[in-house]
Subunit: 256 residues, 2 copies
């Protein structure tokens, strides 16, 4: 079984997902989530196209195109006569925002993935800050301060979060490296997940405008080592707060 896909086209879809743009997108989400959640283990073969199509109430072509997308994400490999086999987790593209999101959506996979993504941030972002200190243009430095001002003067927590994300986005952009931009999109998935958790437990001081200002100043002063050190400290605080927020969530009795 491929999960209980109900929700025909006219249904309200109350809260489950905002809008399923096409049947293929919806099938990608359903099948992909089932795989990531372990409904189909690596090495197993998925049900045949026709069966999945019948389960989802769509045509076989929708399933095929969804599988093609999932194969691009490294989750499955299809072969004529051999069926569609789930690849081992090591082959999955864990940098793909969808794959990450499907992990975050699972209550048991979520925390481990956030830890690993926090580890990724700890590896990447200090170097990003250091690189920005040498590569950023004057305009980009100003834009960093601008984002900081937005963060410091945010009227509410949501605006503060947006400004926070904006700050980090501009930091990555200052690297002038295409691969860093792609990595940024991956990092932002967990960044927003952290914010969601912060909002859930009402943890207001999960942002550090002062540290952000210090990072911007270090970059303005063209001091890579200082930028790296401050960013490292900022991420360390982030990890600490993550533990605090998790304890708060536990006390709330983890709801859905």
């Amino acid at each position: 079984m491929v999960a209980d896909r109900t929700a025909p086209k006219g249904a309200p879809l109350t809260g489950e997902r905002k809008k399923a743009r096409t049947l293929v997108d919806d099938a990608v989400q359903t099948i992909g989530r089932d795989i990531v959640w372990g409904e189909h283990s690596p090495g197993e073969t998925l049900p045949v196209e026709a069966e999945i199509a019948a389960d989802l109430g769509v045509g076989r072509n929708v399933v095929r195109e969804a599988i093609k997308i999932l194969s691009a994400k490294g989750l499955v490999r299809a072969g004529r006569g051999t069926g569609m086999v789930v690849l081992p987790r090591g082959e999955w593209n864990y940098l793909d925002p969808d794959v990450i999101q499907w992990n975050l959506d699972h209550p048991e996979l979520r925390d481990e993935l956030i830890d690993e993504l926090s580890g990724l941030r700890a590896i990447i972002e200090p170097q990003v800050a250091a690189l920005a200190a040498t590569a950023a243009t004057t305009v980009e430095v100003l834009r960093l301060f601008e984002a900081y001002e937005l963060m410091a003067n945010a009227p509410d927590k949501f605006a503060g979060i947006e400004a926070d994300v904006l700050f980090h986005r501009r930091l990555f952009e200052a690297c002038h490296n295409k691969m860093m931009l792609s990595l940024m999109r991956t990092v932002f998935v967990v960044l927003r997940a952290n914010f969601d958790l912060a909002i859930e437990v009402d943890f207001v001081s999960s942002r550090y405008p002062d540290d952000h200002k210090l990072v911007a100043e270090a970059i303005h002063d063209r001091d890579p080592e200082r930028a790296r050190a401050i960013m490292t400290a900022l991420l360390d605080k982030n990890i600490e707060n993550l533990a605090t927020m998790r304890r708060a969530r536990s006390r709330l009795g983890q709801a859905s």
Copy 2:
């Protein structure tokens, strides 16, 4: 036009590409390469499905499934009625091995991408080495030395390159981080591209078994800072040799 795809179904395809497993895979390569190479600029809409299908001598379904894969790589977005538009380069997934390979295959895009990927390595791998110094198991450390031995005692340059790649692979695996494993696959594309260039210009000392040994020893001693420093030095040498190899290639009169 989408390039001169001939090769009907029965044709031998002698050498053009090693194996075109399916028509969809072939279409992905053709269309993807055309987009990356600038045959279709960002913002433009691709020819309609039927036209591409006719150009490639395939059915529309093949084109559709290829487009789905390319959309998963962030190159295009398809919309009913709006056509298939090429997304701006900033949206492309530059961590995808195919996207990287298409860049490497273009003589003018190649060098810039190698530079950026070398920059990515410079950001990632020193931290990977440092992380491995704290996270690697005893067995993994032994495996690192084993890879070094293979590299030092390689009977020919090809075996040495394989051992070199193996060393870095085991380094990444010692991080115990799924995202790092995905990043590794990206990094390896350019690693092998560097080796191809080294072979092309017969640059034999492009590997540094001694430095690799020092990295392994630092990890064995659980000394993250030393591991990071040596890896940084190793990558610096790599970048220097890259410049040397490019000059050698220029002297050879850059052939195809």
